[in-house]
């Protein structure tokens, strides 16, 4: 359970996984390499422009396209604390939860927020707040099963608690 406070970086609708991390970089899955190319065709030099803890705010269908887990991994590696979107494509949604990149569906907030402003995302209370106005918007709650994965940190921690070691 956490509160994220950060400066907003806005991207549009249907930002696909090729835009998040182009396939030409998928011959290397190391975080340091991936972060350098994260969103580079949308916001050149993204990883250097942002400060640790900044928040990515996107339109609808964020992360559509490929199943590459490299996409949420790259975003997390840049130092982005969480992603708020109008909606998420389904494989990206799974992947973000599975690797422990916090994501929030908050369509009303996305409409109101502008580039560069500061927002607060409260995962426990389930809201997004604009710091300058104090205006709050609802963020969708996760089903309890998914909440358990989130609380475990990532899918592997969650699975590890459940698997019988079969060696």
């Amino acid at each position: 359970m956490a509160k994220y406070v950060g400066k907003v970086w806005i991207v549009g609708d249907d930002v696909d996984t090729d835009l998040i991390i182009a396939a030409r970089y998928l011959n290397d899955s190391s975080e340091d390499f991936l972060k350098e190319h994260c969103l580079e065709d949308v916001i050149p030099d993204f990883h250097n422009k942002i400060a640790k803890g900044d928040i990515l705010v996107a339109g609808k269908n964020f992360g559509c396209g490929s199943s590459r887990e490299h996409a949420p991994v790259a975003i997390k590696a840049t130092g982005i604390s969480c992603v708020v979107a109008e909606s998420f494509a389904r494989i990206f949604y799974r992947n973000a939860i599975n690797i422990g990149l916090p994501i929030f569906t908050a369509p009303e907030a996305v409409k109101a927020i502008s580039q560069g402003e500061e927002i607060v995302v409260d995962s426990e209370e389930g809201y997004v707040e604009q710091v300058k106005t104090g205006q709050k918007y609802e963020a969708e709650k996760f089903p309890s099963f998914i909440q358990e994965i989130i609380e475990a940190g990532n899918l592997l921690n969650y699975v590890q608690r459940r698997v019988q070691k079969n060696d």
Partner: protein
């Protein structure tokens, strides 16, 4: 229940499931490739589990950047190979035997009806054409499933796509059905949902066409695409799939979110303009679009029927002198069949080049990467910004007939223009 709900229920030991339920389902096959596999292996190691849950139910196929395109890709393929050896995986296939995963697995009878297949590749939804539930997931999902044999899934609601009529245009195929549908509902029109294709029009769509349709369900945001088993499916499975057929049909009272109709009789070949598969136009409304490259292949259109259609149009013709035609048979069997039928001769005589099976250019890997400002017409599945190379290049999507005709004229063209 719908077919999708029935398969999911059968795999989590429940009598009934409905849209929105969260389930832990048993998997019949867990797939990954040279891009997503190494990440899955790394995550699998973290679990501290020594052996995969069932060595006969894990498939690892080096197809994206293989034959190795560079040193880093070679490293990734090596990691896949070493893991496959260590775990003694039944379904690891080396370059020389392997094909593009979603062409190869159905062709070799490794996937079939009633099964639940997950793959760390978004186009895993292809196998729905065989009456299976199959869906794309991430590498961590694959790691967890390799250890436990299970996956968490939310049961999707279903959109019924009713296919009616008989094609009046001789060049219409599965690619046009799916592009037209995505054009109608958009790239998130079926987000988190299942696309179930039904209707009397299906009898005019071959197995290769159906595989193309389900392959691109993800391009509408769908979790899976699915088609009930019929005589065409059974004919395809004969001699390749050796397990008993598990056949489901949707109940009369199955619940659908909505219904959409596609009329084959009025359907024209479709072209998706940059930079979204939903940006479709009828071939008649394309206008003058000069192109630099044509790619015929991929998990979407790399099957034998696709090669035959291309050859039919290219026979005795020459490719535009300043255009590159790259043809990629999806598997070694398709490649051999092309040799036997004289298809490779036709392509080479026309001035095209033939590549071994690989995803290669579809995702801008290699074997046909675009320069700044270049345009390609491709039978692949995505035309996102920078998909096939430079961020300022463009990709147009179409069926193999349009692709072959366009290779001859050097601009996006209908086959009638080259007859």
């Amino acid at each position: 229940m719908t077919i999708t709900e029935k398969i999911l229920a059968a795999h989590c030991g429940l009598e009934e499931v409905k849209a929105g339920d969260l389930i832990n389902a048993r998997v019949d096959l867990v797939l990954s490739n040279d891009i997503t596999g190494p990440v899955a292996i790394k995550e699998f190691r973290k679990l501290g589990v020594k052996k995969v849950f069932d060595r006969t139910k894990i498939a690892m196929l080096p197809d994206h950047f293989a034959p190795n395109k560079d040193i880093k890709s070679a490293q990734q393929c090596k990691e896949l190979r070493e893991f496959a050896k260590e775990q003694d995986l039944t379904h690891y296939y080396e370059v020389g035997k392997v094909g593009i995963e979603h062409c190869f697995l159905p062709e070799q009878g490794i996937v079939g009806p009633g099964e639940l297949i997950i793959g760390a590749d978004s186009h895993t939804c292809t196998y729905g054409a065989l009456g299976a539930f199959s869906t794309g997931v991430g590498s961590t999902d694959v790691a967890a499933a390799m250890a436990t044999g299970e996956i968490w899934l939310r049961v999707p609601s279903t959109i019924k796509v009713n296919i009616v009529g008989q094609p009046s245009n001789p060049w219409v195929s599965g690619k046009d059905v799916i592009l037209a549908l995505i054009g109608k509902i958009g790239v998130d029109g079926a987000r988190y949902q299942s696309l179930e294709f039904v209707g009397e029009g299906l009898k005019h769509l071959s197995m290769d066409s159906r595989l193309t349709i389900c392959n691109m369900a993800i391009e509408a945001g769908a979790k899976n695409g699915i088609i009930a088993v019929d005589e065409i499916t059974k004919e395809y499975l004969k001699g390749r799939y050796h397990k008993p057929l598990i056949i489901y049909e949707s109940d009369e009272d199955a619940v659908y979110d909505r219904e959409i109709e596609i009329d084959l009789s009025t359907l024209k070949p479709q072209v998706a303009f940059p930079h979204a598969p939903s940006n479709t136009r009828d071939i008649d409304n394309v206008g003058e679009v000069v192109i630099d490259q044509v790619v015929i292949g991929s998990c979407t259109n790399g099957r034998i029927e696709d090669m035959r259609i291309a050859a039919q149009i290219l026979k005795g013709k020459r490719v535009d002198p300043y255009l590159r035609l790259i043809v990629i048979p999806g598997t070694q069997d398709v490649y051999k069949q092309c040799i036997e039928e004289g298809i490779l001769d036709i392509i080479i005589d026309a001035g095209g080049v033939v590549s071994p099976p690989t995803c290669g250019p579809c995702l801008g890997g290699y074997m046909g990467v675009l320069a700044k400002g270049e345009r390609a017409l491709s039978t692949t599945n995505r035309n996102f910004v920078g998909r096939m190379g430079h961020p300022e290049s463009e990709v147009y999507l179409a069926n193999p007939a349009i692709a072959a005709a366009s290779a001859i004229t050097g601009k996006i063209s209908s086959p009638e223009e080259v007859e």
